[in-house]
Symmetry: D3
C-alpha cells in the first residue's frame, strides 16, 4: 500500500490528518481527541511530524513502515496502547495476522521472550473483536 493520501501541496497538518486516518483509523482519532483538553498542540505535532512528515515520505511503503513500528514497540515493551494501535494499523495497510504474529515472535531474539509474549497477547486482543466482527457478531 502506498502513501496515496499524502499530497505535497497540502499543509503538514492536513497531510498528517489524512495519513493518520488511513493508517491508524478510528484509534488514531481517539488519541488526538484525548489530547484536546491537556495538550492540543501535542496533537498537532503528532499529526505533523510522525504522520505528515515521516509516514508520508515516499522511500518506504506503509507495509514496511508498520513492520518497523510493530517490531520497535514490541521490543521496547513499554508502550502497550501504541503497540495495539499499530497492530491494527498493520492490518489496515495490508499486513496479515500471520505476518504480524511473525514480526512479534521474531522480537524474542532481539528483546527477549517476555517482550514477545506481551506483544503476542496485545495482538490477540486486537485480533479478537475483529474476528467477532468478521463472523457477523
Amino acid at each position: 500500500m502506498t502513501q496515496q493520501n499524502c499530497n505535497a501541496d497540502d499543509s503538514r497538518l492536513e497531510r498528517g490528518r489524512r495519513a493518520l486516518a488511513e493508517i491508524d483509523g478510528e484509534a488514531g482519532e481517539k488519541v488526538v481527541a484525548a489530547l484536546a483538553d491537556i495538550a492540543p498542540d501535542f496533537a498537532t505535532y503528532l499529526l505533523e511530524f510522525p504522520f505528515g512528515d515521516i509516514y508520508c515520505r515516499p522511500g518506504l511503503d506503509l507495509r514496511a513502515r508498520e513492520i518497523a513500528t510493530i517490531a520497535a514497540l514490541t521490543a521496547l515493551g513499554n508502550a502497550a496502547p501504541q503497540l495495539k494501535v499499530h497492530i491494527a494499523a498493520g492490518l489496515n495497510v495490508g499486513l496479515t495476522r500471520d505476518e504480524i504474529t511473525e514480526i512479534i515472535m521474531q522480537m524474542a531474539v532481539y528483546a527477549g521472550f517476555p517482550a514477545a509474549l506481551n506483544g503476542l497477547f496485545a495482538a490477540k486482543e486486537v485480533f479478537a473483536p475483529q474476528s467477532a466482527a468478521e463472523s457477523g457478531a
Copy 2:
C-alpha cells in the same frame, strides 16, 4: 528474498549455519568464532534458535525480517555491534541504503531523536567501506 537456504530436512544447526551465512555473511561468522573460547554452546543456540528456527520460518520474507530487526535494534539503542551487523544484513537481503535510512529515521518517532541519530551514524559506518569497495579502492 526468500529463505532459500532453509531446508526442513536439515538439522536446526545446519539450517541455522546456512541462514546465518546468507543473512549476516562474514560478520555473522566472526560472532560465532568469537564465542568459541568463552561460550561455544551459545554459538550453537544462536545458530539454532534465531537462524535455524526464526529466520527460516516461511511466513515472512528476509527483507521484512531485516526491516523488523533494524527497527528494533535502533529503537533499543543499546546494541550497536548487532545493529551494524543487521544493517549489513539488510543490504544482503535486498534492502537499499535509502530504505534502511528510512527505517532508522522513522525510529525518531518511537524511540526519540538520539536513538535515530545513533542508528544513522551506525549506518554511515556500515555504508562507508562498501562505497570504497564499490569505487575500486
Copy 3:
C-alpha cells in the same frame, strides 16, 4: 521552593520523612505504608537516600528536581505509578500544569511519541481530580 524541611541536625530518616511529606504528600505516605508488610527496611531506605540525602541537598531547588524526575520517569516509560506521584509532587513544589505538560511533551524528542503520550495521559489523570476539587466538587 527551597528545601525548607531539611535540617542537617536531624537523622536522615527524620529529614527524609519530612521531605517526602513536603514533596509527595499523601501519595508518598501511601507508598511507605504499602511497604510495611513486605519490605519495611525498603521504606526506610526510600526515606533516607532519595529524600533524606538527595532531595535535601542544597545545590538545586525542588522545582528543578521535580522537572528532572518528571522528565526521567516519562522517558523511561516503565514506572507509571511513580510518574503520577511526581506529577503531583511537581504541583506541590510550584510547577504549573502547563509547565509539567511542556516537560512531558519535550520527551517526545528524547524518548519518542509513545513515551510522551503515555506521560500526558498520566498527567491528565493526576490533574483531573484536582480540577474537580478546585471547582468545589
Copy 4:
C-alpha cells in the same frame, strides 16, 4: 534444587515441558495455553529454548537461575506478568520470600527505586494468595 526433570535423552520439547512444569508450575502452563490460538509455534519455542535448552543446562542450579531471572525482570521493569510468574517460580525452586525480597530491593541500586518498588509490589501480589492458602483460607 537441581534440574532433576531434565533428561538428555528426551526431546527438547519434552524436556522443556517438564522443566516448565517444575519451575513455573500452573502459571507456565497457562501461558502455553494462552498461545494456542495465536502463536502455537511460539509456545513450542518457549518450551524448547528457555526451558528445554537453558534451564536444563547443568552448570547453574535452578535457585541461582531464578535469582538471575527475578533480578533481570525487576530491573527491566517492563514485563510485570513474567516477573510475577518468576517470583512464584523462585518459591517453587526453594527461594524464601525474604530472599526474593532482598533480590528485588537490591535492584534499586542498579535500576532505580521505581523499578524496585514495582518489583516489591509484584511480589506482594504473588505472596498474598499463598499466605491465604497457607492459613487454610
Copy 5:
C-alpha cells in the same frame, strides 16, 4: 534564559537553526553536518521539530528544558553522545556545573547508580576541556 532567538514569523527551519546554535552551539552544527551525506532530510527534521517547534515554545525557559533533557538522557543511559551535547548545552543556557552534577546524581534514584555514574563521567569529559580553556592552557 529565554528563547530569544525564536521568532514566530520565521520558518520552523530558520527558527530551529538559530535555536540549535544558541543551545547546542558548535556541537549541534557538527551533528547537522554529519547527517549531510547520509540523511540530510533528518537534519531538517531535527532542526524543525525539536528546535524550531519544541525548544521555541514559550511555556518553559531553556534552563528548565535542559534540566529535563539532561535528566532524561542520563536515565535512558543509551545515548552518550547526545548527553554530552546537552551537558554543554546546559552550560550554554546558564546551568552551573554544580547544578548539572546535582541533576545527574539525582538520577541514581530513578535509573540506578550505573546510569548516574556514566552520566557523571560524561559530565567530567565535557567539563574538562573548558577548565583547561578557562585556565588559558
Copy 6:
C-alpha cells in the same frame, strides 16, 4: 561467601568502604577515585547505600547478590563498565567463570541475544588478563 566485613557498629561509610574493597576490589576504588574531582559526595553515597546498606544486609549472601547484579546489568545492556566491574566482583565472591557465563547466557531469554552477546564479550575481556596472570605472564 558471607558479608564478613560488614559490622553493624561501623558507620555506613566505613562498612561500605570495606564491603566495596571485598567485592569490587581495585576496580571499585578506581570508581571512587574518579569521582573525587566531579562529585565526591556521590562517592560517599555509593559507598553508603549500595555497599554499606544493601550488600551488607544479612538475608542474601554475596554470591547470590552478584548473580542478581550480573543478570540485571547484562539485561539492561547500557552499563558496560559496571557490568565488567561486577563480573570481576563475581569471581571475587566465589562464582566460577562457567557460572558467570551461564548467568549471562540465560539473559538471552529475558533481554534478547544481543544483550547476552554483549555480556559474554564483556566477560571475555574480564577473564582474559586474569588468564594471562594465572599463567605467569
